[in-house]
């Protein structure tokens, strides 16, 4: 079953960010190995001119992936709204990954500014995918103002700490109707699988792949992990027990 956001379908439930890539070649190999169909790019880090010789935008075009502009580096709603408009004009897409950062040390979202920016951008016709905290109430507020998905942080950006509050991620999944994409904090494949097992509809990650010693290999691992977690989430796992339960029952066994 594909991931559907705002009526658009994606065969892959993995969204990749480009930040931290050591080279365009390494990034291209990772994008291909990840199987992703959606890649997020900070507007501030690239010029929209698609003429950049062998640059990032050409690369994404070559890989046949859709571009999701983001507002990374914005600290106020005003700034994020401005960057979102620039992105819509430059990349000719109303989709935006909305980031409004609260401080430089944690890079965690500022919830108040985030809701303000989301409300205005939705009213302006944007398809808004906000990067939010793992607060279930804030996630619901974002869904209520019309965001197309909510993207809670598993842990701070680039920290590789994994999903630090699994219970809240599960609560968010129950609290909103729109897709839940776990965004930020993933360190390795099992983190991504766990996020999917908690009920997330997708995972967005960058650093875990781009800064891995072998980015293409980690990208392939993430592809499998997201798929494995999604399959497991829908497969009806067994309850946890205190004591063992023999996999082959004793009753009815032949007397040998």
């Amino acid at each position: 079953m594909p991931l559907t956001i705002a009526g658009e379908s994606f065969g892959s439930r993995l969204i990749l960010g480009t930040g931290g890539a050591s080279s365009l070649t390494a990034l291209e190999e990772a994008v291909k190995a990840s199987g992703t169909e959606l890649v997020t790019v900070a507007l501030r880090r690239v010029e929209a001119a698609a003429t950049m010789g062998g640059g990032l935008l050409d690369l994404l075009d070559r890989c046949g992936v859709r571009l999701l502009p983001n507002t990374a580096g914005c600290y106020t709603a005003t700034e994020a709204i401005k960057v979102a408009h620039l992105a819509r004009e430059a990349f000719e897409t109303p989709w935006v990954k909305l980031e409004v950062i609260g401080d430089e040390r944690t890079l965690l979202p500022d919830g108040v500014e985030l809701v303000r920016a989301a409300e205005e951008l939705v009213a302006d016709g944007f398809t808004v995918l906000p990067y939010t905290t793992d607060d279930p109430i804030l996630a619901r507020r974002l869904a209520d103002v019309g965001c197309a998905a909510v993207m809670p942080a598993g842990a701070p950006i680039g920290s590789g700490l994994g999903v630090t509050n699994p219970h809240h991620i599960a609560l968010i999944r129950q609290n909103v109707e729109v897709p839940v994409i776990l965004d930020a904090g993933i360190g390795t494949a099992s983190d991504a699988a766990l996020a999917m097992e908690l009920g997330c509809d997708g995972v967005l990650l960058a650093t875990a792949v781009t800064r891995a010693a072998d980015p293409a290999r980690m990208a392939a691992a993430m592809r499998h992990a997201v798929e494995a977690g999604w399959l497991a989430a829908g497969a009806g796992r067994i309850p946890k027990r205190f004591h063992a339960l023999a996999s082959t029952p004793d009753e009815g066994r032949p007397d040998l």
């Binding site: 050591s22 365009l24 690239v46 010029e47 010789g53 062998g54 010693a213």
Partner: protein
Amino acid sequence: MSTDIEVVGAGPIGLAIGWRCAQRGMTVRVVDDGRTGAAHAAAGMLSPVAEAYFGEEALTGLLVESAKRWPAFAAELGDVGYRDDGTLVVALTSDDLAEAERLRAYQASLRLPITAMRASELRDREPRLSPRIRGGALAAGDHQVDPRKLVPALREAAIAAGASITLGEAGPAGVTVVAAGCGSAALAGVPVRPVKGQVLRLRAPDPGPPGFRHVIRGYADGRHVYLVPRADGEVVVGATVEELTDSAVTAGAVLDLLRAATDLMPDIAEYHLVEVVAGHRPGTPDNAPILGALDGRPGVVVATGHYRHGIVLTPITADLIADLVEKGVPDPMLAPFTPARFLS
């Protein structure tokens, strides 16, 4: 045998190729459009070890080989600010140390000369380092040169060897060597893109050399910074890495660079800020240079896309390209860097 060689681009790479070709008795003309190149901003670190990064083993091999040629190359040219005081890798926080250690372990696994150092050992070598630093490493073989001395020295050497250097456009020639940095994409159709870097130049408040002698490559709260002390009192602090083509110098870049620099070495705050400049590195998709004959364009050789490594790669680029031009056969060392690798 005398050959007619035209080199497009009078940066360090073009001038060194012209010089080496002229030394071999070829008739050489170096042409340039007069625009400022990457060398104007470059710090001039010769850092094959501390720059070695995962997945870039072929590039590291070339950097190591070129760095070996630097002492003799510098001696031939005279005063180019060559200093062999070595490089210290310095990490501020435990997160920074983990990052620095990860890279050091990788570099050591390639048998490159790098030694882990405790904070106290680093501060014994450079007492002005902040007491807050957590640790780092010594890359004793990573040296430095001053690109603003190197370029005039190369011009002089090339002219003395019989090359002519002129402003203008490329004309007909037996062999044309495109060494035009960021301009090479338009001239030769190779995938070279400008990668903006903002660099500061400070000056020690007192006459004489700055209060430290090693190149410092720092990690400070997730920010990367380098400090390069020159014998004449200049300190180069760099550099941002931005996928942008403009040349604006920004408040944020100055703030980030100076915050990281002063976190690592507090008395940098007393130094005079004398210049902020934005340059563009000629970047390639795999961060390695593009060196060799261009398929389908007989008589055209490219030597470009040196990205962050133009200064350290100047000697070996000049030697290998002069060989190629003279003999018509590429040295096996050029194999990983051919223009053909981007054709598929």
